[in-house]
Assembly symmetry: C2
Homo-oligomer: 414 residues x 2
């Protein structure tokens, strides 16, 4: 058997045992993992250095090296995150609903683990701990498949997790890492419907698109955010500009940052130059439609491609619109249904925008940067779903669960 | 543009308009469809005759001809089902949850339509009305793709639906039928991620497996039921036998009927012959393990394949087990995670069975035949999900919905 098959079988074999562990047993295991991460910190850092060295050899960009790096601080952060996860409510076993049918059948709907989660991710080795711990907390077994560039770090972390699990009540096989990082193995994993209940890809658009295109296992799609800010005619100038700067510059590389600002022409007549100046002062490159770049010096013309692009950088596209309808039309055409915001003091425009925009999160008078499991108060985040099935928007622990009906009778037949 | 692309574009174009229709507007449209079905009954029956004639020409089995046939009674039943659907609560717009964050951001989670549903189904033309009406009730547009054997009936029904929609407030393009029933067109439809939010296959295992294997659009899998009845040592004999007969024979062709009966050896010592006699009296063919067929005359030996097979017929496999654990092990090995039942008066065995069996519906002292949206009291049924994401078990209207977060602020930045 291949490494993949051996590990998939091992992970699957402990699903039932794991599903019956108590919250205390699961939390105790998480605490043991946190301790073991700190105990074995020098080992993890040493192994991580091997990945960094080969990254440098392969000419990785510094930003990629940074994502790969596991410093002492970062490992302590990982251990702290585990302790926070312990505090969060365990959704497993929750009674979602219960009722009685006229024939006397008692029906209960309860929350259960999904079973086996397949996690496919890129360079960041902290995802290894993150994914494993979220799965264990929700009673799921997990098959991890990280990238080859982080293989030493990931192998080390899983070794540490196994050392912790040996001391815990959870089965050792609850967590495994596929060490064969070839593309062929990944493609096989995408089609392991007999072993995996769900695949969660975490990484860039290309990875996610590949998984969606190839997988026969159901996928929880997280991903791209081509988000917009619409500044309506009646928007308060200071609020609109502050939110624009925050939503664009506070962390441009993440999915809930904005990529395009749509400005109502009447607001633009009064405040556009002020907005542009503020963006420039924050080192944001502006690509604007004709009405703007013709009027203001030093601004590039936006192309069709700019409306479609998630820049993930200090670049913003700006467009003048004539109405809320035009803003909505633009967003529903180019947006990725992630996070969209309207700044307005006009109730009817706000209602129209909130109801008509098709996105996971629609904001009024707020930055889009709050689309995040922690900011929503979930205490944990699996990712931000951009699909409509199962979970939409920031996903907390319940996104890693399914349900089951229990029916109690006394001889009912149909 | 191909027929498929033209219709997919048309259906997608009305998603936003449709999502904003009120419950009354949607119910009025359903009532118009019900009336129009009855008004145009002779036309539908005429068109249906063409499908029946070519079915006969192609040597269809009588049971298939029966599935294809639209009699006057069946068309009246379709109209009545529409009227019942009107009475069911509209889930769209439901406030699922709302809370305030420490920064003052108000978060509301509301229920919204999925968008466009792609429905792939086999011979039964009544699915055309059923699928269209469930989608319209939940504010979804729907692209229908039935089988070539029912093309005249399906085209006629969609014509009738369009005639009704013309008189309604809903967009005509909310419902379209792909008239090109080639395999190539179906394969294209499976990958229309830009147009379809979900694919729902309804039909045999082969159809569902094909959709799961080929689709890149998320699939709501419904399907196979290899269901079991476990008669424990302490089972009341009369109850166990009545339930066995009901779960096997009341409608053998459906997914929630049982295929295997597991009998505790101590119960078998006393009552097995009685059970076998009852099954034989109901014309059920028995395939049993060695311990049984060696003892009782006229029973076939079960093969490995019998434990795996969904007979969908008056055939049952019987196995003697030594314990609840052995029953659970057999079910978790061979079952399709659909519906499983234990007949027992021993509380600890019942708890063990209900908690350990991994299935959509787990029963105590009841027939499995109740796994059904109507029997659960949902008032409608999209199908019975055998997957763990999005929906599990009988799916009512909420399975055709997604959610959206609405966030209200007063200038919040991160």
């Amino acid at each position: 058997m291949s490494d993949l098959q051996t590990k998939a079988s091992a992970v699957k074999s402990c699903v039932i045992e794991l599903s019956k562990k108590t919250t205390k047993q699961k939390n105790d295991a998480l605490l043991l993992i946190a301790s073991e991460l700190v105990n074995q910190l020098p080992f993890i850092v040493e192994e991580n250095k091997k990945d960094i060295a080969s990254g440098r050899e392969n000419g990785f960009h510094e930003s990629l090296i940074d994502r790969l790096a596991l410093t002492e601080d970062r490992i302590h952060d990982m251990a702290d995150a585990l302790k926070q996860l312990i505090e969060i409510n365990d959704p497993i076993g929750e009674l979602i609903d219960s009722w009685e049918r006229p024939n006397g059948l008692q029906i209960k709907q309860v929350r259960v683990p999904l079973g086996v989660v397949g996690m496919i991710y890129e360079a960041r080795p902290n995802v290894t701990v993150d994914a494993a711990s979220l799965c264990l907390k929700t009673g799921n077994a997990v098959l991890l498949r990280g990238s080859s560039s982080a293989i030493h770090s990931n192998t080390a972390i899983v070794k540490v997790i196994h050392d912790a699990l040996k001391k815990s009540d959870l089965p050792l096989d609850s967590v495994h890492l596929v060490e064969d990082t070839s593309r062929e193995t990944a493609s096989q994993m995408f089609k392991m419907n007999d072993y995996l209940d769900v695949l969660i890809p975490r990484g860039g658009k290309k990875l996610i698109d590949t998984v969606v295109a190839q997988a026969t296992v159901p996928v929880l799609e997280t991903g791209a955010g081509n988000c917009h800010l619409f500044i309506d005619e009646t928007a308060e100038a200071r609020m609109a500009i502050d939110i624009a700067i925050n939503a664009k510059t506070q962390r441009p590389s993440v999915c809930n940052s904005i990529e395009t600002i749509l400005v109502h022409k009447k607001w633009a007549d009064k405040y556009l130059e002020e907005l542009v100046l503020a963006l420039k002062n924050s080192d944001v490159e502006i690509r604007a439609d004709k009405k703007i770049y013709a009027k203001i010096n030093g601004i590039l013309a936006a192309t069709e491609l700019d409306w479609e692009t998630e820049f993930l950088d200090k670049i913003v596209a700006i467009k003048i619109v004539e109405s809320t309808e035009e803003a909505i039309e633009h967003i529903n055409k180019y947006g990725s249904k992630h996070s969209e915001s309207i700044i307005s003091e006009d109730d009817s425009h706000v209602v129209e925008f909130m109801n008509t925009i098709d996105a996971a999160a629609v904001y009024h008078n707020s930055s889009t940067r709050f689309t995040d499991g922690f900011e929503f108060g979930f205490g944990a985040e699996i990712g931000i779903s951009t699909q409509k099935l199962h979970a939409r928007g920031p996903m907390g622990l319940p996104a890693l669960t399914s349900t089951k009906y229990l029916l109690y009778g006394n001889g009912q037949i149909k």
